[in-house]
Symmetry: C2
DNA sequence: TAGATTGTTAATCGATTAACAATC
DNA sequence: TAGATTGTTAATCGATTAACAATC
């Protein structure tokens, strides 16, 4: 999810909607699995099931890329793998730097899913002298001091931030100043970037909070519901109440 | 992002849109920071800036929760912290289990942002005998064999899957069978769950691929563009071409 | 009262979905 | 030809946004 402020709103490439772009990697993954099993063709129904979407959406998505299917037959797996890869820009090599080699940075460095999709970890950076010089995932850890040099020398355009929130904005600024134009941010903070720089964020805590919301709702359907009767007998309600459910908060406003 | 198949479509709690729910944690984070600085009130404009959204959206979001602001003044920070926390279900304790104690699982176990928001790591599970018995983030690692017992005894309703894709579905099935109804999935695979179980996924590779798409587009605005003239002189185009741009693929369909 | 800021309205935009004509 | 499946249409739904009346 890109931050609202930094993400360009409607300048879609060849008119491919953002929601479609976000699903192309899902299709690509499912297609790659089919390709490895040497499956020659696949229908929109089968592929949609494998990708976890419905087939109407899939066909609509593919229609933005072109007419790559054959009526009555389906889609050629290899051909579609190539087309989606090309559309996503995965037919070229993307050097990335990972800033912050804690557990999360190490997890990313070790993740095999990157290399296979054209992403090459150009460098691991950390400011901890105890880490620099050491090897993580078969790569030496460089000092953050060398960020600008490494970004420039390797033509890095994608940076991954896996440090605590406190230092994230400063690292972000340095990455951008050095030429990085896409940032994947794992720090739980809002990053401010100039126009033209894309930021996507992955926020572990936020995901859990959204789950908690739905979890609470599930529980409430059985347990909490009786506290708020479905239908209240009509009567004078002269006391305006804060909030939709009259729940009295522990902390009242001034 | 929940998988399309498993996420209930429109059964919204008290009518709070899904997009709003996803932003509540952002507001909460910004408000917590203000609270720590003992700021008593905040305007929609200030808070929106801190959360990285625009103020119209924020006010609309808050309108779903109730009328918690004061015209001409703004919002009471403490009061709003409480209301959003309550709405998200963070005023209660949520025991979670983390299955898979590799770098990613360890990163999550060490993440301080959980405990402060009502999430309590009830157990760390791994199938590797070399890990079980050891301590990670001050907690003992239990063996995956004990999954059912631990989930039941601790009343766990939220499970986090941080193992490779291969074993994810099986672990998911066991979690669900044991009573878990919300799953945060880091494994790069589509999980199949019964109705009533929520799945959200965090996919590191997909985020990078989306960035690559936009990155490619930025580069294309300068470099690739000349290959496709903005306006083509009208003429006979008797040869129908595959794809919107006539790019000849390396792999042709059957 | 004058200034500030919320809460809501209404218009717009983007995404989803079912249905089916086109066509292999 | 008959059956299967795509690509597209059109309706619907949900999200965003600007503007401003309400009101502190």
């Amino acid at each position: 999810m890109a931050t609202g402020r930094t993400h360009r709103p409607a300048t879609r490439s060849r008119g491919i909607p953002e929601a479609t772009v976000a699903r192309l990697p899902l299709y690509l993954r499912a297609l790659t699995a089919l390709s490895e099993r040497s499956v020659p063709t696949v229908s929109s129904e089968e592929l949609a099931t494998a990708a976890g979407v419905n087939s109407a959406k899939l066909r609509k998505d593919f229609s933005y890329l072109g007419s790559y299917g054959t009526r009555g037959v389906g889609y050629d797996v290899e051909y579609l793998v190539y087309q989606i890869s090309r559309e996503l820009g995965l037919t070229q090599d993307w050097p990335v730097v990972i800033v912050g080699v804690g557990n999360l940075g190490a997890a990313l460095a070790n993740y095999g899913g990157f290399a296979s999709r054209g992403f090459r970890v150009a460098a691991l950076l950390d400011q901890d002298p105890a880490l620099t010089g050491r090897t993580v995932a078969g790569m030496p850890v460089s000092h953050t001091d060398d960020l600008e040099r490494i970004v420039t020398e390797n033509g890095v355009s994608i940076g991954v931030i896996t440090i605590p929130a406190g230092g994230a904005q400063q690292v972000c600024d340095r990455l951008v100043a050095a030429g990085v134009t896409s940032i994947l941010n794992f720090a739980p903070t809002v990053l401010s970037v100039p126009e033209g720089v894309d930021v996507r964020k992955v926020d572990l805590s936020i995901e859990l909070q959204i789950l908690a919301f739905h979890e609470q709702r599930k529980a409430g359907e059985d347990a909490t519901a009786p506290a708020a009767p479905a239908e209240l007998p009509a009567g004078p309600h002269t006391t305006p109440r804060k909030g939709p459910d009259g729940d009295v908060p522990a902390v009242m406003p001034a």
